[in-house]
Subunit: 341 residues, 2 copies
C-alpha cells in the first residue's frame, strides 16, 4: 500500500486526496494546509490528518483548528508527495522532497524543469515509469493532449490550431476576475499551452490562443486539426468514443449547448462536487472536411487532471502498466467514455 | 405508502423526486416532463417512470426518448401531485387534479389563490393539516419566514425590513439575465416577497426590496428586524442555532464570506447537486442594538423549499404531526442546524 502525502489542500489537492482514498493500492497519510479556513475544517471532517508549516502554528491555534503535526512529519511517513501547492511554490519544496528521499508528482503550474518528465497518462505513461519527479500538465493541456493523441492514432496530425476560451477563475476564488471582460491571456501568440502540449507531444506543430472570460465553470476549446490523411466523420467519432476519459454529448438530442448545462448534468448524475474528469466533446461540432477536422470541447478545470495524478503516482512507483492503471483509475472514479445519455 | 406524482421535472421537481425517494412513508410513482432533453434522460437513468403530455409524443419519439405513458395515467395512479411546473402553469392543471380526485402541493410561483393555504413547515404546518391544496411559498419567502418565525419565538416582532439580493437565474437557465446589471425586481416598493411572507405570517409589518444580480448560486438577504423587547446577541444566536433548517457560519474562523464559498463547502461536504436546504446565516453579521436586530443570510434558491414540499405532502395527507414530520424530513435529507464547521 503506497503512502501518499498531499502538499496543498486546495482545488486540486482535495480532489487528489479523495481520489487516492478510492484506490486499493494507495492511501492518504495526510494533507498539508497552510491557511486555517473552511477547507482545513472540511479536511478534518473528512478524516484526513492535517499537517501544517511550523510558522503557521499560531494561526491554527488562534482559530482552534486541530492539526496532527508539521509538514516534516508527513514527509517522513510518505512514499510520494502529490504537490498541489500554488503555481511556482512546488519548485521551492523540491529540495525538501529530495532530502527526505521522496518521490513527487507536481502540477502544471510548475515549470517543465521541475520534473524529469511532463505527463499525460494516454500519451506518455511509459516515459514516466519509475521516474522520481513527474509533472502532470495543466487542465487545458491535458484536455488538448487527450483529443490530439486520440485522433493521431488513426490520422497522423500535421498541424493543430486551438482557441482556449478560459474560465476566469475557479468557483471558490472570490478575489479573481475578470467579472466583465474578455481578457487575452496572454495578448500574444502563442499562449503557453502550445508549448506545454509539446512537453508531452514533442514534435507537434501546434499554436494556441487563450481568452479569459467571466465564468467559473469550465473551459471551452475550439480546435482545428489538419491531418496527413483523409478520415471520415464516422470513423473519427468512433475513435473518440473509444478513447478513455473522453465523452460526447449530442446537443440535438439533449439540448446541451453550454458549460452550465454540462455541470447541471453532472449534478443530476450525482457526481461528487459535480466533478467531470472527462473531456466533454460537443458531438454536433465535430466537422470533417478533407484533411481538416474541427471540434469544440468543454474541460472541467477543477477535475480533469485528477485521474492523471493517480496514474502518475502508479507510474512513478512502477506499480502498474499504462492500461492497467488507466482502467483501474477510471473504474474507481466512475469515469465514462463515449456517448453519455 | 403514499403514492406521489411529480408534475414538472425541472429545478424543483427533480429535487422533490429525489427527496421523496429518500422517505419511508411515500414513494415516487412517476414524473412528468414536457420537453425531451437531458433532464428527461437523467430522469430515466435514475429509474423514474416518465410521463408526458399527449401532444408531445412526436417530440419524444423523434429524440428516441422512452416514456412510460401519458400524464393522465400518472394522475390515476397517484394520491398526491407535487406540481413543479413553471410559475402560473400549476393553476391551469388544478382542474385536472380536482377531476382526478387528487391532492396537490403547488409552488410559490403560483398565486396565493391556487391553494387553500400557503405553507411553511415551521410557521403553519398545523394550518395545512388535511388540506387538499397547499402552496409552498417561494425560496426567498421560505428563507425570510424561517428566520422571522425563529426570532419571533423569543422576541415578538414589531417590524421587518429586508433587502433581497437575488441570483439572476438558476445555473441551468442559459437564456436568462442579467449578465452585467443590477436590476430592480421590481422597481417599486415593496417587492412581492413581503406580501408572500404575509400569506403565512398574516399580520406582520414587513417591507421588502429585491435586486437581481449577475450570479446563479444563491440569494443573499440583509434583514432589519425591530422587536418589542430587548434581546441579547447571545440569546439570539442560541435560538437561531436551535431552529431547524438554519445553520450559521463563522466568517472569522472559516474565511467564508461569499455564496461561492458556501457552495464550495457544500461540494466538499458531498452534498448531492451541492444542495443547501438550510438558511445560511453569516454569524458575524448578527448585530443587536437595543430593540433592533440585523443579520445577513444566504439562501440556495434551488434547494431550500424541498424539505417544505415533503412536509406539505405529510400535512396534506395527515400523515404526521409537525415536529415528527420536520424531524423525519431533516433526518432523511441530512439537514443540519446550528454552527457548521
Amino acid at each position: 500500500m503506497i503512502r501518499v502525502g498531499v502538499n496543498g489542500y486546495g482545488t486540486i489537492g482535495k480532489r487528489v486526496a479523495d481520489a487516492v482514498s478510492k484506490q486499493e493500492d494507495m492511501k492518504i497519510i495526510g494533507v498539508v494546509k497552510t491557511k486555517p479556513d473552511y477547507e482545513a475544517l472540511t479536511a478534518i471532517r473528512k478524516g484526513y490528518d492535517l499537517y501544517i508549516p511550523k510558522d503557521r502554528e499560531k494561526d491554527f491555534r488562534e482559530k482552534k483548528i486541530d492539526f496532527k503535526g508539521f509538514i516534516e512529519e508527513l514527509f517522513e511517513k510518505s512514499d510520494i508527495i502529490v504537490d498541489a501547492t500554488p503555481a511556482g511554490v512546488g519548485a521551492k519544496y523540491k529540495d525538501l522532497y529530495e532530502r527526505n528521499g521522496l518521490k513527487a508528482v507536481f502540477q502544471g503550474g510548475e515549470k517543465e524543469s521541475v520534473a524529469e518528465v511532463s505527463f499525460n497518462a494516454l500519451a506518455n505513461y511509459e516515459e514516466a515509469f519509475g521516474k522520481r519527479f513527474i509533472r502532470v500538465v495543466s487542465c487545458n493541456t491535458t484536455g488538448l493532449i487527450r483529443v490530439i493523441w486520440s485522433i493521431n492514432r488513426i490520422a497522423p496530425i500535421k498541424r493543430v490550431r486551438a482557441v482556449i476560451i478560459r474560465r476566469g477563475a475557479d468557483p471558490k476564488e472570490i478575489d479573481k476576475g475578470p467579472i466583465n471582460s474578455l481578457t487575452l491571456d496572454p495578448p500574444k501568440i502563442p499562449s503557453h499551452h502550445a508549448h506545454d502540449v509539446k512537453t508531452v507531444l514533442k514534435d507537434l506543430d501546434i499554436v494556441t490562443m487563450a481568452i479569459a472570460t467571466p465564468t467559473t465553470l469550465m473551459h471551452i476549446h475550439t480546435i482545428f486539426i489538419e491531418t496527413y490523411d483523409k478520415i471520415s466523420r464516422d470513423r473519427l467519432i468512433d475513435v473518440l468514443s473509444d478513447t478513455p476519459r473522453i465523452i460526447l454529448v449530442d446537443s440535438n438530442r439533449t439540448g446541451i449547448k453550454s458549460t452550465s448545462q454540462i455541470i447541471e448534468l453532472a449534478r443530476d448524475l450525482g457526481r461528487e462536487r459535480y466533478d467531470i474528469y472527462e473531456n466533454v466533446i460537443f458531438r454536433d461540432t465535430i466537422h470533417v472536411d478533407g484533411e481538416e477536422i474541427m471540434l469544440s470541447q468543454a474541460i472541467h478545470q477543477e477535475a480533469i487532471v485528477i485521474p492523471e495524478n493517480i496514474d502518475a503516482i502508479r507510474a512513478s512507483l512502477s506499480l502498474k502498466k499504462r492500461d492497467e492503471s488507466i482502467n483501474e483509475t477510471d473504474k474507481k472514479l466512475n469515469i465514462l467514455r463515449g456517448e453519455v445519455l
